[in-house]
Symmetry: C2
Subunit: 288 residues, 2 copies
Amino acid sequence: MRAYLDCYPCFVRQALTAARMAGADESQRWSVLRRTLEMLQSFDLTATPPEIGTVIHRIVREDVGDGDPYVEVKAASTSEALHMYPRLREMASEADDPLDVAIRLSIAGNIIDFGLGDRHDFDLWNTVDRVLAQPFAVDDRPAFFDALEKADEVLYLADNAGETVFDRVLIELLEVPVVYVVKGGPVLNDAVYEDAVAAGLDQVAEIIDNGAATPGTIVQFCSDDFQERFAKAEMIIAKGQGNYETLSEAGPRVFNLLQVKCPVIARDIGKPVGSIVLKQATESIQSR
Amino acid sequence: MRAYLDCYPCFVRQALTAARMAGADESQRWSVLRRTLEMLQSFDLTATPPEIGTVIHRIVREDVGDGDPYVEVKAASTSEALHMYPRLREMASEADDPLDVAIRLSIAGNIIDFGLGDRHDFDLWNTVDRVLAQPFAVDDRPAFFDALEKADEVLYLADNAGETVFDRVLIELLEVPVVYVVKGGPVLNDAVYEDAVAAGLDQVAEIIDNGAATPGTIVQFCSDDFQERFAKAEMIIAKGQGNYETLSEAGPRVFNLLQVKCPVIARDIGKPVGSIVLKQATESIQSR
């Protein structure tokens, strides 16, 4: 999905939020702002939002400094989700259709997202209740179940820290082995290796990183090793908006699981903000 | 009040909204976006938000075309407010303190604002109820009443169409003659001469325009005639956020009446979004 015009105010906001989270002083914030404005002016119009986001986060690293500004926020999200974990697991196992409930829980966890603004108060239990009761706005579950039955292995592209715990509940119910893919370096509150281990994903999956510190999955920016596994994968579960933005046209092996949290993605999918989506990717572009 | 860092995402959004309202096609919208990004990058850091907004609206006029894109929106706001007018007038005249109620009604009308986003659903009666009951977050009413008693004439700087009708209720209760100042050309949904006449302001005040098509009141951009009247005025009532942004430091003759509708102004005033404010301007800058 290429960036829409309405993404641009959000890019500027993201640059300011990322600079602030990285501890930028006033003059560093102005520098990040100006470089972002300059970059946005000249950027390729066919770029996806995470491609542009990648440059924004590079500017912040260059102007403010390296490190993982979201490390505490991520630890808090993981800890909160781990407190919920026993009950979440019970909810799935006691359900008439455990897999359906676990898919929904994994989508519920996608509400955790610090890329959207300054909101730090995700009401996780309310979100769980809503997502368990809500109809799918896009429902490719039949194709999803079909692919699950045929696959010998699933590549599971993680999104945010904390959401990882919700993914774990789903992965525990899958009969097929899962390779859980995290980011190669810190970007926003996206899970890196340590975040996935802290959430216990090492107990249910092989964890690898994609070699890239970008939002979503920009395949050509990832490590050779990841690109090879991506190319060979029979089935790919891609969590969250960033992975939708980068992989919505990556072909029918890819299933995007997400909550619609921004108006631009809502328009692209044709469903309102708040929708829950399980969508098989189309084929128009192999991967971006 | 100079523009803050957090104004910049909003400037980009305003450029896109103004282009859309002016009927821009996709390529014109991209052109407006790019020119806005370029302009923002190089703009004077001490500029007020309306000074930057003025350049945005100039870009839209150059790229998309002249005219008054908000003409229908303004007519609808005026018509809705005129339907409320008899009851508003009654509410003030029947009150124990008619002037206090009329001041609050004038502030309630400030909720009408198409510069903030795509919201077109102002719940005017609910706003009236809220503002009548709400304590002032900044309350310079004593100085305001004092100035009213001493002034031989009041310069009343209008804000948006529709809000004009709420101003009319206040002006009818003032014993001192009022000069009602509208914009010299269309910008957002700010009232121009025709809008003020449609709202019946010609029945209660002398209407003049300030010679400028800018948000707020950027005195040095206004006509010589207006600048002269502004310089001589004993008391100036300045409605809305744009006039706060441009005149909050224009000296104690100026009284800003507004609702706080954006987080940046909330921070500048030190009061939360949703506050109602009657604030005497400080003196640090004579006028911007």
